[in-house]
């Protein structure tokens, strides 16, 4: 690990004050069109509907929730792979929510993504070295041939693979190794933020731990921040400093890891925790099983009032009509629930 990288990261850290990323009132709405020739908008899917959070340098924020909660859409909007309908995305002091393509190109050197599917996200016709080095070429920072090759070897070694693997093709690698290749590619441009969308959920259990550990080691070495999007609450707990729980396009609770897992406050967070079985049959036999009914409703027709109220075991009259705000509790936690108003 050459010193140039660490000093570069340090210099960047000092460059701006405040959080690395601040998302304010982010909305991503998709129109639902009807008609073949003459199209008419008949409805709107509010996939992300007013999401706000901050992420510090070197920090991991876990973004959890069930399918359709908007966690992946939030990640894609921050990377500007989707256009936000409203809101601010302040990254390294700069609001990138309305950046055009040219300006986003520069930003993407500092903000990279690791995908869920280690099979679909690597081009099968490219050698591993070229996959890892492609961002350097695209952004014109590859340098001469020797420098380029040295950087690829360094990146490949950084993720725990052997430099001579650069000459091989993705199909020669297992799922866990492919995910390492995807991580090496994300690291190529020295980003300060990596958005990880379900990065371990396609991997076998025994391999997940290898990749989770790699993420944590790289964070320590390179001072990376992660937005770690996942549905597995146990993995998220292990890797995150803070966690945001999403439901139907909104954050319902955001807190530090220990706050959230010790004392979840939002009934949805409580339900999620209760639903996750703990690998200990003696403990499971005595654990109260509070299983909530119903499924996540369609984002096309979110319920009025609190979006969780139809499934909430503690819903009151106010919950059916008034949409609760995400209220800061002053201790680093914010909850959107009338029970904690």
């Amino acid at each position: 690990m050459p010193d140039s990288l660490t000093t570069e990261a340090a210099a960047r850290a000092a460059a701006t004050d405040g959080p690395l990323l601040r998302v304010e009132g982010l909305k991503v709405h998709f129109p639902v069109m009807k008609g073949v020739v003459i199209q008419k908008q008949v409805a709107t899917v509010k996939a992300v509907d007013g999401v706000s959070f901050t992420l510090d340098r070197g920090e991991t924020l876990g973004l959890v929730g069930e399918s359709g909660c908007g966690k992946s859409t939030t990640g894609l909007a921050i990377l500007r792979m989707l256009t936000p309908t409203a809101g601010r995305i302040v990254f390294e002091g700069e609001d990138i929510a309305t950046h055009d393509k040219g300006r986003m190109r520069k930003v993407r050197r500092r903000m990279q993504m690791v995908y869920q599917d280690p099979y679909g996200s690597l081009d099968p016709r490219m050698k591993v070295g070229d996959i890892v080095g492609e961002p350097l070429v695209v952004h014109g920072v590859a340098g001469d041939r020797a420098a380029y090759r040295a950087r690829i070897a360094e990146l490949i070694r950084m993720v725990g693979l052997l430099p001579d693997m650069a000459e091989r093709y993705p199909h020669e690698f297992s799922g866990g190794q492919r995910q390492r290749i995807g991580i090496a590619r994300a690291l190529a441009l020295n980003p300060s933020l990596i958005i990880c969308d379900e990065p371990v959920s396609a991997l076998d259990v025994s391999i997940q731990a290898q990749v989770v550990n790699l993420f944590m080691e790289l964070q320590e070495r390179l001072g990376l921040a992660y937005l770690f999007i996942a549905h597995d609450l146990s993995v998220v707990r292990h890797i995150s400093n803070r966690i945001a729980v999403m439901y139907l396009g909104r954050i319902v609770e955001i807190a530090t890891r220990d706050q959230l897992y010790r004392e979840p406050m939002h009934p949805y967070t409580q339900a999620l925790m209760a639903a996750v079985p703990i690998p200990d049959p003696a403990l499971e036999a005595t654990r109260p099983q509070q299983i909530i009914s119903g499924e996540v409703p369609s984002a096309l027709r979110p319920p009025p009032g609190c979006r969780f109220h139809p499934r909430c075991p503690r819903a009151m009259d106010a919950c059916r009509t008034q949409d609760p705000d995400l209220r800061d509790r002053g201790d680093g936690r914010a909850v959107a629930c009338h029970l904690h108003g």
């Binding site: 069930e66 399918s67 297992s174 866990g176 190794q177 076998d204 259990v205 025994s206 391999i207 997940q208 731990a209 290898q210 989770v212 550990n213 944590m216 549905h231 609450l233 146990s234 993995v235 707990r237 292990h238 890891r257 220990d258 897992y261 339900a271 999620l272 925790m273 209760a274 639903a275 996750v276 079985p277 703990i278 690998p279 200990d280 049959p281 003696a282 403990l283 499971e284 099983q289 299983i291 909530i292 009914s293 499924e295 996540v296």
Partner: protein
Amino acid sequence: MPQHTQAAAGTPLLQVRDLVTTFRTERGKVVAVDHVSFDVAAGETVAIVGESGSGKSVTALSILRLIPNPPGRIEQGEVLFDGRDLLKLDDAAIRAVRGDSIAMIFQEPMSSLNPALTVGMQVGEPVNLHRKVSWARAFERAKELLSKVAIPDAGSRLNSYPHQYSGGMRQRVMIAMALACNPKLIVADEPTTALDVTVQAQILALLKQLTRESSSALILITHDLGVVARYADRVVVMYGGRIVETAPSLDLYARPRHPYTRGLMASIPRLDGDTGSRLVPIEGQPPDLANLPPGCAFAPRCQQATDRCRQERPPLQAVSDRHYKACFLDA
């Protein structure tokens, strides 16, 4: 559960003996299930756990003779169910068993349901087929089953099609179909893997409750050690097509004896675990079935492997009552 222990004392409901299932592939013959033997007692829930390529699903499909041939073939073994060897039945006889005394629930409810038939017809079909009753009676039974799996307004939902159901509701339909003929054994292959966590908890609790009510036995195939801990009475751990350890759940989690089982338990983060420490991964890659080592399949990843482990295949041996492991080490 008293009825379980009682049943366990007699002849097991299902005895799988020395089962070998192979597949022809481009890279030669692959032994997907390699001399696997285990029992399931009446009313018991047995989990088969393992990672991809461990042979857990192929074992389940072999029990019901659902292995596509070619490329697959059940090469040897016995599957004794209620005193009969299912592997020796002719096609008509095995069809009479499937969906009647043994039912199966698959992972993907959308691709296992027929999109062109109403839910009522699909749930009623096994009743009509196996119980030889009229369609009118079969629909009555379908309605009863749908309310049993807590599908609201079951009567009018009978005429809906699968695409009009949500993922969780479709899996409830699969359970209703499985229960249609009061099976003695239900084989569920990753029944909740495609579902959200709160829905997973609902479906598994429902499955457990209904199997308990009907005292059906359940083979639960999963990769999730948490699900096993919550729902299974006994566990079979597979690796590289072989059983590496089997024990009652409480015993297995309290005293895992095979290095692979121990490795798995150390590598998974827990909701109530220690957050300061790193996970302890199992190093190396999952086994390549086309290229297994001559000895123990886990030897290349095992920290304690000896020369003997690399050359000789460890047999499944008793370490205590009902607890078996396939490992030469004394640990």
